[in-house]
Amino acid sequence: MSGSLVRISAMLRRYLYLHRRSLPRTLELVFWPVMELFVWGYLTVYFKSLAPGLAGQLAFAFLNGMIFWDILYRNQQAVTISVMEEIWHHNLLNILISPLRLWEWLAATFVYGFLKSAVITGVLTGLAFLVYHFDLAGGLGLSLIPLVFNLLLFAWILGIATAALLLWWGYSAEALIWGIPFLVQPLSAVFYPLTVMPVWVQAVSRCLPSTYVFEGMRLVLAGQPLPAEFFWASLGLNGLFLLAAGAFFYWMYAKALESGRLVRTGME
């Protein structure tokens, strides 16, 4: 195995050890998503009973929106909480003086987030089918792959940008871990179509890769194919955002090295 793979798997192992060690941490993985599923699930059952047909479709889109949002949120958190974990445990300096490259560290958090999402999505999909007879995965078919791919990329990008702020501000930026995704949620058309927003907001929303994912998801659930331009627009924007977030992360790291904030954060 190459050096990078060994180090990435070492960091992945470090984060997985936490779950072996802590049952609450593992349960917390699925607790909130499952509770949300129950709330949204019964709400959709209620809507369906009021107006079968259209309400049922809407409800299905809601549930899928919820699961997709959870994928984005959890993956952003996987990156940022993993970085924060090292700050909480005064381990940042040990990590930064080891041969681990910064991109290897981030890659490990991406894989960790992906694994967490796979578990959560599996649990939610299974529960939605058992309790509400909603076949979430089946409803999206193969379109699930490009949609989730772009969603994961954007989540990781948000994670990188937040992690950069953590390197600079340390503990004082902790709230950003939870807050940053909610900056993009209203603009990403998670639960409603883009067209319900004012025209100028739509223009902003179209600059986010996530908007094309949620819009695409609703189209597919309505029985239409996923427009190729949605996939490419999302991928292209993700590429641009990834470059920008990567540059921002390395720039913040360099600034933190120069200003002494990195060692202060590491020793806080």
Binding site: A10, M11, L18, N91, L93, A254, L257
Partner: protein, 255 residues
Amino acid sequence: MASHGEAPLLTARGLTKFYGDAAVLQDLSFEIRSGEILGLLGPNGAGKTTTLHILLGLLKPTSGEVSFLGLSPLRDRVKIAEKLNFSSAYGSMPANLTVGENLDIMARLYRVSDAPARIRSVLELFEMEPLRHRLAGALSAGEKTKLNLAKSLLNDPLLLILDEPTASLDPDMADKVRQLLVRVQREKKIGIIYTSHNMHEVETLCSRVIFIHRGRRIAEGTPAEVLTQCSARTLEQAFIKMVRSGDLVAREEGS
């Protein structure tokens, strides 16, 4: 003892660090060779830890440069990281992992060959084998320090940077750690850069010391040479004299 014929392991030239207008380190230069234990001494805030952080590539100096085996800690961080290590009494390792898990992760990051045997060996060195399955967060302050030290020896470093490594150890364990460091240094011919406020420890352990005060080097030499320079009987006396007078700076610069 170091052989002065061989090339230095690490060279620091003109290290200067400003935070805004405040100088925390000014024009500090020194070298360390294999098999040498170099003590960096000075009062709190003298610039010792700043120096260590610059050597480790965790802090960019305002000017000056560090060369470790011809490599720069800032430009060649990964290559250097494989050959040096660091331990501080004030650092810790993830509290929610066990001693064994922490060392396992670090051994993988450093790509230590035959990691299980190496982990066993460093645990035995520090008499920590019985604590292997204990959470790092449940260790006493002294045990945490030993865990950090064990981690710092995992990769068989050529240069070991230790920031007050015995600060939280009881006298017995501090003595054992000192003996151990001397043994490791002699057997492996590694270089050690060492900060401590325990002057007796420095006197017995270090082959050479550098006194830093307000970011400046105010004395350097073997412990015996520094005692002569300061007309002191012990390093502790010399330390107090230097810190309280500060005129050695002028004396040295004038000479």
